[in-house]
Symmetry: D3
Subunit: 214 residues, 6 copies
């Protein structure tokens, strides 16, 4: 069963409390948070102090997407912030296995994110330890980019590689209601939505998204 993960980076940064209240009323389970260091990706946003601060304002599960060059330098403070799900980029370190083990060893769900050019086959020796795989459907670190069509095939292929392991597929980037449905049909269960959800009337948008994947 698929669900929508609102991305806080797409919300109104001037009224985060209201946005969190809105998401709570919409019965959001998981909040997606983009951590960007301006080095692994060009933009900068949401470090551990901000994440820690946000976490105290809500009971939602936090899914932190670490887009950083030196994930080992930041993992302790992200864990300390009390977030429940953490995903790190396969491309950011050759020691991804150790990082996954550290996240799991702290009782959190561990994910691996892959950029549009990375093949899911690369994750072969991580599959036994993963809770989810984030298939980036745009290039990470940007806003307002267009969904990459071939991602749908990648989702299906990833699904196949996962087999009957209890791993969920997450997608992030350029998702609207129609695309959400396509992603769900291809095998995605965790569907991150930013700009589309928080545009126009968010409540209506949310409803469209939920219907699309129901």
């Amino acid at each position: 069963m698929a669900e929508i993960l609102p991305s806080i980076f797409g919300a109104d940064l001037g009224n985060l409390n209201d946005e969190l209240e809105f998401l709570k009323n919409e019965k959001t389970t998981i909040l997606h948070v983009d951590m960007m260091d301006g080095n692994f990706v060009p933009n900068i946003a949401f470090g551990d102090i901000q994440i820690n601060d946000l976490k105290k304002r809500t009971n939602m599960i936090f899914d932190v997407h670490m887009m950083v060059d030196h994930p080992f330098d930041h993992i302790d403070s992200v864990l300390d912030a009390g977030v429940e799900m953490i995903c790190v980029h396969y491309e950011a370190t050759p020691h991804i296995h150790r990082l996954i083990k550290k996240i799991k060893g702290s009782g959190r769900k561990a994910g691996v994110a892959i950029t549009p050019s990375t093949r899911p086959e690369e994750l072969e020796y991580l599959l036994d330890d993963l809770d989810y795989i984030l298939v980036m459907t745009i290039n990470p670190g940007h806003k307002g980019e267009k969904f990459i069509e071939q991602s749908l095939e990648k989702i299906r292929h990833t699904k196949q590689l996962i087999g009957d392991r209890p791993i969920q597929i997450e997608v992030d980037g350029g998702v609207n209601d129609a695309i959400a449905k396509q992603c769900k049909d291809a095998g995605a269960e965790l569907i991150v939505v930013g700009g589309f959800l928080f545009s126009n009337d968010p409540s209506v948008q949310y409803q469209k998204l939920r219907e699309a994947i129901s």
Copy 2:
């Protein structure tokens, strides 16, 4: 004449609009924004997308403090955000002169920030192009740190080096009302305040700060 520059990083991130409204009502002229990349400094916060978004919500002058490893990679988007004052760390690049010229060439005010271990003498060949010098009074990239006492002597010494050039001294880190007064007496004109201002009753705190430096 000294003035208080509220640091948005110390405000309530859940209610930035309200915080901006509060600052407007308090007749704040300049808002200080910390840009941190998790590489030059350990924390991550406020990239160009967030700064751009904040800038649209208010008429205050923005003073962006770039704490990043590769300032040339970020300067264009910071300039595009329309901010009026930009300061970069002397320690972040050997090409600081070129960066200063670029900021000035874009019609903005240019500052250089120095960490607690850097001597103001290092800035000798930049003085003719600078609008302000940010003397860090804590180590950059942290929150809630204690004001470094010897900063007062550094401010006085910087003042002396500046001579009659139209350069303002800015201080940032660990400032409360008593310290604000000491900094002002030492020669600082731009006094950044974060935690102290936004604690308890901010309106009262603001008043204390203003009185201290009046």
Copy 3:
């Protein structure tokens, strides 16, 4: 149909105008230019100022092979130089998809280069956007190295992965007439030649190469 791409790095650097004239008379269509930063590869040569300067001297199509650590820092100036074909190393950035899209979006042909140790399978999710794949037949950044024999099998395998997509295979490194023929037979269409072409009587060498691949 295969063609020879002379590599300007193999020409007489003291008489580039004459060399360009020679290539024009030989009806060369595409000129190959090696851009090396001394970081991704040990040697340094041909930055954007030199490429820009060369481009104005001739009507040949330019194929720039970017062997640099931070391709995003250089792509704008390479595009500004007006070159028609740009290939970047798969190993140089995890954001190769974004780079390819940028090159394509500027109306140029986009290629990806792979070092001798990289498998063509890695390019799977780039194939729909590529115009050519540069299979390095020596280790990049050196001169006068010996052609790596197993490259022929890699070319054949790459050909197979490409299927009926309109992607050309380019080879570069250690190519003489006999090897040019072997590469062409294996499936290469763009055959870069440096030292062999510009040795002895270049006109004779060129003829040998053309005959070998005819």
Copy 4:
């Protein structure tokens, strides 16, 4: 036929001469030496000066495992130390083919090490030049870590990829007698042992290990 490679990093650093004497008496053929730079891996140990010094104290073959960020900066001094076997991490450089060729060209045995997350398929275009493949069975750069179970499958898979090429499989990390046997049965021939060998009565431990793989 499998053999045990004692890892000097697990020996008593206060009595290396005695340890070397012990290993000689036990008829050790190959000594494994971990070179760690605190950058590619978190720990630091055994640079070229120490390796050079150790090499003069014994006639054993040295197998140096380079866990460093810039292997080209260190390869010359490692070669100068006179060691007979050198393995470098696939993940440490895109120019691994050139490094392997350099090691082979100096008349030494060349190996490639892969971290737990790296697939042996990645080595496809190196197989014709390799003497051995080091399948890391823990994450490199740590001590006292637990053997990663899925390594056994990776060894078997690597064995299959090697086919009838004369390449040996080496394992390193968390090995005791029972695991040594499992690794040997899976196809490993070079079995590095550190902590287990040098604990309790090393002579007894060594015997246990030898029996396990006999």
Copy 5:
């Protein structure tokens, strides 16, 4: 006594042989060569292969200005090219003393270059080993930039720090005849000229420059 050092980067890259012939006829003693890696400075040009090639075409003394991030990685090949003068940036390595000693130990003249923001005082502990100091009069790595006026004061100050040591001051960037004279009057003896020299009629320009500093 001051002299003009033509910068090959300002010459016609299409006719370097002719340019070298012209410089020979003009009795040029020293040729200035800019080595740029696209990392320490944004542009890329003139690595060791090109320098080596140029060196064979002329008897002029070569003065190589290394604008690179990792000077130790390139110094051997620059020395091997047989150049007589090498200057490295103070800002590029904390081990500049060792680099200077290496250059001197190879029987070459050693210089240190400083960017516009660096104070000559920083060179205090290098003065006893230096043959020349390159005071950059523009920001390094660019073409066609404007001479920084305050450089004149920096030259005078550097002259004072040098005292009676046999160290020459070199200037580079934005120099024309009038500026050449100012630099000479301030104490510079080695005056690099690029664009101005090779514009219009180079022979006339050269003459203007010579007269200006005579």
Copy 6:
């Protein structure tokens, strides 16, 4: 009063226990340990695991000289090893003030090391927090180098800058008995000796050194 600090890097690595026993019998108070990462300096040696191991074998005070690129990545494990004195390179981080505070805050003695090209003036804003300054008398990270003569003047100048603060001057590199005396006379109190002490008859050498500085 000056004292000799034997450098373990100069001892017989095959018999460290005996060497430690020898040093104990010679009533050595402080043992100097070089931590080198092959990045800040070319050599690699003595990481935290080895330091931790050595520390347990003796009661001597440990003085760890961190020659590493990312001192913040290593400081925790060095502190955990229980060493009493730690010095870090001024050139290794712009956040040296924070590092010094961290060392002091852990109840250890804090030092700053400077390479031969760094002026002691740079340390001005650290003086109030320092216990010692390590004036490198060779370029760090090498063995068997020759003492740099101008270091004596640098020691005297450093002494002057220290004034009556309780800061000791340490020297390291190329020291024999005659040089030890010169350093002591110039103001050094902590005199590191490696090769000279452990050559010939170390007991005699030690005696020579002690006499020289008595």
